[in-house]
């Protein structure tokens, strides 16, 4: 005998199934070990040493064969430039920019170099569905334009607003960003061009683990003149580029709201339920629809039959 299934029991079981599936999904917020390449390289940036000479910008342009800027690198008026009310950013013509800040209690300007921070667990990499990004054992986050479809999700995923789109070639999509001079220098053990160009040794190249030790030593040996924090040691799950500062990082334009957990951790629970939603929900709601309309259809059929009988 066929078991009788009421509409109510289908609804009840369907909802129960969805709720169970939601509850049984991977535990939210579970800490995970950050994958680390033990000998990956990094750069320690000491903001207090930077004098805003822009030698790094000039060296980067030459190394990466980027177009020549409108103004020479000796021109300091670029520090006044505002684009849409904000300071200069990296774009398809420049992988690094130096910006000036005027912290209230410092008495002299402070300069900050912006480039890709080469995260340990890059959000751009996690967000890319064609795997155009790679974190190399040397520490660089490199991008492969050959597989990129130009969706620009990486630009939204990056907590530091680094990947930029080459709008001048929209039909062969290309993301433009600092590549740690991977192809020309890093993979041969050489420091990136910007580091080599820095006259003040505001940029120091070395193994990330050792740079953290050097950073700690510098904080200790300078009698409290440095902020007791290395920005990038934990931010966004840790970055290959690390920063020391003598003024609060927020005063040099650093985003202090960047979580210490990798960006992936904030979205993986959501991403985890996407396949379940895509497979269960269509069947469930199609079922609801059929059940809801079955009575009407039966009534319509009955009416049609009775009309046929009458005529």
């Amino acid at each position: 005998m066929r078991e009788k299934i009421s509409r109510r029991s289908i609804l009840k079981n369907g909802l129960l199934g969805t709720v169970t599936a939601l509850l049984l999904r991977p535990k939210a917020g579970k800490a995970h070990d950050i994958k680390k390449y033990p000998d990956s390289m990094g750069v320690l940036v000491d903001l207090s040493r930077c004098v805003g000479c822009r030698s790094c910008e000039a060296a980067c342009r030459a190394e990466q064969n980027l177009p020549e800027p409108d103004l020479p690198y000796t021109d300091q008026t670029v520090f006044e430039e505002l684009e849409h009310g904000r300071q200069r950013r990296t774009d398809e013509t420049r992988f690094t920019v130096v910006n000036r800040y005027d912290p209230p209690d410092l008495g002299h300007p402070l300069y900050r170099k912006v480039q890709c921070n080469h995260c340990q667990e890059p959000a751009c990499l996690s967000s890319c569905f064609v795997n155009a990004y790679t974190k190399t054992p040397e520490g660089a986050v490199v991008y492969n334009p050959d597989v990129c479809v130009g969706c620009r999700t990486c630009m939204i995923a990056c907590p530091f607003y680094i990947p930029t789109f080459k709008y001048s070639s929209a039909f062969s999509p290309q993301i433009m960003k600092c590549r740690f001079c991977y192809d020309t220098r890093l993979k041969f053990g050489k420091p990136p061009a910007c580091v080599e160009a820095c006259p003040q040794e505001a940029l120091q190249f070395g193994k990330r683990d050792e740079l953290i030790k050097i950073g700690r030593r510098r904080i200790e040996e300078n009698n409290g003149s440095y902020v007791d924090h290395i920005y990038g040691e934990y931010e966004a799950g840790g970055t290959s580029w690390l920063y020391l500062s003598k003024v609060p990082f927020a005063q040099a334009g650093f985003d202090m709201t960047v979580p210490h957990a990798p960006i992936l951790d904030s979205v993986k629970n959501f991403l985890g339920i996407v396949p379940m939603v895509l497979t269960i929900w269509p069947a469930l709601f199609a079922g609801f629809h059929l059940l809801a309309t079955r009575k009407d259809q039966a009534r319509d059929n009955a009416r049609d039959n009775s009309q046929e009988d009458a005529s």
Binding site: Y73, K190, P191, G206
Partner: protein, 168 residues
């Protein structure tokens, strides 16, 4: 081993006593032994050589302002003084004798020598010179613009996108 004659030993002892009675520690280098001018020419790719007026700086500042402890004056920095308070003059006081020309790719101590363990944060020559000169110039109102000390070479002008001679 050859034995020293008693006379030689006596002479040596007398000489040491005389020397130590003057200073209490090895003799410091005298200012007039210092060069009048130093040409800094190891980085001539983008910039021409810099003629550093050593005499003017030596006349106005103590040796240890720049030379840390190597001229035998005792270091000005408390951290250095912990070990180098009495270390006396070094055989070579030039910046390049301690500060390497290339920034080390790894800052890890190569061995277990104290100099390696305690000097893990030693800048390379270019960094040392700029941090020392530029840092002091900021405080003492010396010249701080890049072109105040450095004249571009043709390659430097190209790299920096300077197409006229105004910024020389």
């Amino acid at each position: 081993m050859r034995k020293l004659s008693p006379t030689a030993m006596l002479c040596g002892s007398i000489l040491m006593v005389i020397l130590c009675s003057f200073t209490g520690r090895p003799l410091a280098m005298e200012k007039d032994e210092a060069p009048a001018s130093v040409t800094i020419d190891y980085l001539q790719e983008l910039y021409t050589a810099v003629d550093f007026d050593h005499q003017m700086h030596a006349d106005n500042y103590a040796c240890n302002t720049c030379h840390h402890h190597t001229t035998g004056d005792g270091p000005a920095n408390d951290t250095c003084a912990k070990c180098h308070g009495d270390s006396g003059p070094a055989g070579d006081v030039s910046c390049s004798s301690c500060h390497d020309r290339q920034q080390a790719a790894s800052a890890s101590p190569a061995g277990h020598r104290h100099s390696d363990v305690y000097h893990i944060d030693k800048p390379a020559l270019k960094g040392a010179l700029h941090l020392q000169c530029h840092g002091c110039h900021q405080v003492e109102d010396g010249p701080t613009g890049c072109q105040d000390c450095h004249a571009f070479t043709p390659k430097g002008r190209k790299i920096f996108g300077v197409h006229n001679n105004v910024n020389d």
